[in-house]
């Protein structure tokens, strides 16, 4: 527990003291800001404001944004040799991976919280379906957690950050596009199976519509648990490979 907390604190410190993480956050906020203003302008006349606007955007953005947050986490420890010290410190291997994962998730949550301010602006000028938006945010929060867990797993696999980022982006893209598996695969059952595996399908059909399904929660929690489990095993493998 203390180990997890210590690792978590160090990683959080890393996020808050590194200019790069501010550049990433700022760039993301510009994008979400533009996106939001576009929707507001559009909502003046044409349509109602989209309650799941920013979460929908994040669902796509996480393909690139998630790996950006996690790619260095374990890869750097291996490259700099600190992994050896971590593994000879009196901490559980789980603590290392979980601490890192939690810090990435918390950083991501903070960014989500900042974008939630848009919704407060909307609430001042309109009468939006707030609970729907909160639902979409819960969904994208879990979705992001799963994407970060996947990124972390690939960060554990290699000591090259770029390779880690590339592999995560490829996997996330696949899991994102699994949503449209039907367009490519003609066998319906296969298409369904692929779709059940995809990240987007567990967000766009439920949370984005304002409903919380237990199975989606199970899916995201499952992805997180499985990916962290694999990441721990990979970290552990330094001991015997």
């Amino acid at each position: 527990m203390t180990g997890t907390w210590t690792i978590f604190r160090r990683e959080m410190g890393q996020y808050f003291t590194s200019p790069i993480s501010y550049i990433i956050a700022g760039a993301l906020l510009i994008l979400t800001g533009l996106y939001f203003n576009g929707d507001v302008a559009y909502s003046l006349t044409v349509k109602a404001i989209n309650p799941s606007l920013i979460p929908d955007f994040m669902a796509t953005a996480m393909i690139f944004f998630g790996p950006l947050l996690t790619m260095r986490m374990l890869a750097e420890e291996q490259r700099e040799g600190t992994m050896e010290l971590l593994l000879t410190s009196p901490v559980n291997d789980n603590a290392i991976v979980i601490g890192k994962f939690l810090s990435a998730w918390v950083y991501y949550s903070l960014l989500l919280a900042i974008t939630f301010s848009y919704q407060l602006i909307v609430a001042r000028i309109s009468n939006p379906d707030m609970s729907h938006t909160i639902c979409a945010y819960i969904g994208i929060w879990l979705y992001g957690g799963a994407a970060l867990a996947i990124g972390l797993m690939f960060s554990a696999l290699t000591e090259n950050q770029i390779v880690a980022a590339f592999l995560s982006i490829a996997t996330l893209t696949f899991l994102y596009l699994g949503d449209v598996a039907g367009q490519i695969v003609t066998n319906l059952d296969l298409a369904r199976a692929i779709r059940q595996l995809s990240l987007a399908a567990h967000y766009t059909d439920s949370f984005a519509f304002g409903i919380v399904r237990a199975e989606d929660m199970a899916y995201f929690a499952g992805i997180i648990v499985i990916m962290l489990f694999i990441a721990v095993r990979v970290v552990e493998s330094h001991r015997w490979r």
Binding site: T2, G3, T6, I7, R9, R10, G13, Q14, T17, S18, E80, G81, T82, M83, E84, L85, L86, L87, T88, S89, P90, V91, H238, R239, W240
Partner: protein, 304 residues
């Protein structure tokens, strides 16, 4: 306290460490000496709990490395061969992180103490990435000591730093030896000789020899050597002249003079002086030569 019994490590069918046994008592500085790839790092990694041994056992402060890995890790300070750094942390933050991770009660105080020890107090707010190589080495030493471990394991701590810093690090290691058990690896013999109370020579996974540097020298030294410089005689006559002395086993020319290998335990200095004078030459220099551990080491390792 380190107790190693028949420790073995296999990678596939490659034997990295083969049945080595030794002990290191508290307050002892033990040098692990051997060429690159001899199995020094593997041995140390097993002792730190980084990797489990294939066979045999190792105990650190009474705890078995496989069974009580956590207890062992709490009691070991480890500096890997390449100093592990977080480039974007400050010196203080870096040490404090390792202190917290190892459950140090009062991190701030311990960090101050250990930075004082390694002489980095004035650099506490510098980013690790801006430290020189020698300072990084001292930083690595600091993290290994911050939790006041019973056993300190240092993997080639003097590699790749300049001579002045080498002296500093060696001095630090010697200081450590007063309170801790220090296991320290090197492939430089003179370093082991200077720093260690005991040296273990390891090659291809086997222990070749072990003991205090002086004992080791006696053990390995197969004969005495004399150095003589003679004026007026050419090489052929000189060897002929000196070779006739009973107890002399061989003569090799070395610079302006000759190295005479003598049967162990025999003092032939008188005979040498006499022969030279008798031959009508002048003896410019005559002194016994102590064989360096380096030479013995090469001797031993080369035979393997």
């Amino acid at each position: 306290m380190i107790e190693v019994q028949n420790l073995t490590k296999r990678y596939g069918n490659f034997l990295a460490v083969d049945q080595i046994s030794f002990t290191a008592k508290t307050g002892e500085v033990v040098g692990l000496l051997g060429p690159n790839g001899a199995g020094k790092t593997t041995t140390m990694r097993m002792l730190t709990g980084f990797m489990p041994p294939s066979e045999g056992s190792a105990k650190i402060a009474g705890f078995d490395v496989s069974q009580d890995s956590m207890e062992v890790r709490k009691r070991v300070g480890y500096l890997p061969e390449r100093v592990p750094i977080y480039p974007d942390m400050t010196v203080q933050g870096y040490i404090a992180f390792w202190a917290r991770l190892r459950g140090v009660r009062n991190p701030t105080k311990q960090v101050d103490r250990v930075l004082e020890t390694v002489n980095l107090s004035d650099r506490r707010n510098t980013l690790v990435r801006n430290l020189s190589k020698g300072m990084r080495q001292r930083l690595g030493l600091a993290q290994a000591l911050v939790h006041d471990p019973e056993v300190v394991i240092l993997d080639e701590p003097t590699i790749g730093i300049d001579p002045q810093q080498v002296i500093e690090v060696r001095e630090s290691v010697r200081q450590l030896g007063k309170k801790h058990t220090v296991l320290f690896s090197t492939h430089i013999l003179s370093e082991a000789e200077q720093v260690c109370d005991r040296v273990i020579i390891i090659n291809r996974g086997h222990i070749v020899a072990q003991g205090a540097p002086a004992t080791l020298r006696k053990q390995l030294q197969k004969g005495d050597h004399l150095y003589a410089q003679v004026s007026g005689a050419n090489a052929a006559t000189a060897s002929k002249l000196l070779g006739a002395i009973p107890g002399v086993e061989g003569i090799t020319q070395q610079g302006a003079g000759y190295t005479i290998r003598v049967q162990a335990g025999k003092d032939v200095r008188g005979e040498v002086a006499q022969k030279v004078i008798e031959g009508g030459y002048r003896l410019l220099e005559l002194r016994p030569v102590a064989m360096t551990l380096e030479e013995m080491f090469l001797d031993v390792v080369g035979k393997e």
